[in-house]
Amino acid sequence: MLLQKTLTKSNKTDLYLDLAELTSGLLLVGFLWTHMLFVATILISQDMFNSLSEFLDKYYLSYVGIPFIVVVALFHFVIAGRRIPTRMQEQRIVWQHAKMLHHTDTWTWVFQTITGMAILVLAGIHVWMVTTGWPIRAVNSAHRMESFWWFYLVLLIVGEYHAGFGIYRQFVKWGWFPRKPIGYVTKAITAIILVLGLAAMFVFVQLGGAL
């Protein structure tokens, strides 16, 4: 035993960190999937999209929700980010290990950390663009989407990947359900959300072009 380790022995810190990781992950995935369903209301009609957005504004849900999610995301970045191998040698070990093992779940974890860091940057830009172009209305979104569709395409794929495999991993770690079915279910949901997202993007870009 070493003095510095004996005196700082964690007690319950690691437990709280793990629970914080679980909670922040679940909240973010819940948010992202809801968000994509909201965006997909454009597939029904512009009015539908606008009235949903107005409804969220009217009851201050946007004004509470957006800062809340930003805080949760930053929190998640710090908590889940503690697992990122940050030292150069750890990086080299992990890459070498993943290449050697030819193992799906190990590779998906490597991409989990990469997509996570990408989201930090991309989602930051996205939130900034939306809040400075307030309010959210079909017309505004269509303009953004038409000019920056490539940006949104990347964010959509990266975000869905991270959320889909992230929630799969949480279920695997906590073992509430067997592993295989959970894999199918999370992949199916991710596929549905991706299709909805792509369809919504397509409609927005068309709309932007027609304006």
Partner: protein, 251 residues
């Protein structure tokens, strides 16, 4: 399948002779019926190169000493048939464990450290009476304990685990499975708080990132995901309800 010529690329390094850099040595061998990596390695050592180092004892997937990286995956040499592999077979020693030389590693020290750290013995206040009849245990409990006991300490789950590869102190699936085994055992009188002390940290239950390389590579097919998750849930529940004693402060 018959008459295949197999090409083995084998990791060679002897820590006793650090002046010779690690290198891959190629051996060629004709495949025979029912050949395992264990048989192939023995033939190479007998017929081609007596200096090749590797471990085995039981050649029947019982002792756990022949685990190595076979074409990228941690597996038992004695349980891996060459006819399940392509013509080219790459062999490396297991990572994480101390390298003895070539394909041979010291898993014993690691597992002993793990056993001590998890206090792998039944903690009981009863004194053993050799004349008394053995205490009874219901079949279901006995089977659950047996499921965890089947671990042969081969180290495949540790070598395959990215976390164990970068975090020296991580107990890995074998260690957490070991704790599960004692948690299930009604004879063990350890309190929940004592179990929390053993695995309630990132060196134990909360260090696992859920990569499942252990679950996918255990040659004994232990239900490692379920064991890891069982301990994680149990330890989290204990932790939420228990007050550790206040420590002293340096400053």
């Amino acid at each position: 399948m018959a008459d295949r010529e197999l090409t083995f690329e084998v990791f060679r390094f002897n820590p006793q002779k650090p002046e010779i850099q690690p290198y891959l040595q190629t051996y060629k061998l004709n495949e025979t019926t029912g050949m395992t990596i264990f048989i192939a390695l023995n033939r190479i050592r007998e017929e081609q190169d007596p200096s090749l180092m590797f471990d085995f004892v039981c050649r029947a997937a019982i002792c756990g000493s022949c685990a190595m990286i076979i074409n990228g995956r941690p597996r038992l040499a004695c349980k891996t048939l060459t006819n399940t592999l392509p013509n080219k077979i790459k062999l490396f020693p297991l990572p994480v464990f101390k390298l003895i030389g070539d394909l041979s590693v010291d898993t014993g020290t690691w597992f002993r450290h793990m056993s001590l750290k998890t206090e792998s013995w039944v903690h009981t206040s009863k004194t053993f009476d050799p004349k008394a009849q053995e205490e009874r245990m219901d079949n279901e409990t006995a089977n659950k304990i047996y499921e965890a006991e089947r671990c042969i300490e081969c180290g495949c789950c540790i070598a395959g685990c990215a976390t164990a590869n970068i975090r020296d102190e991580f107990l890995g699936a074998a260690g957490i499975n070991r704790v599960a085994r004692f948690m299930l055992d009604p004879r063990d009188e350890r309190t929940p708080a004592e179990y929390f002390e053993v695995v309630g940290s990132e060196e134990g239950a909360f260090g696992c990132m859920g990569l499942m390389a252990c679950d996918d590579n255990c040659p004994m097919e232990l239900p490692l995901q379920m064991q890891l998750a069982f301990v994680r849930r149990k330890i989290a529940a204990i932790g939420l309800g228990y007050k550790p004693k206040k420590g002293i402060k340096l400053a």
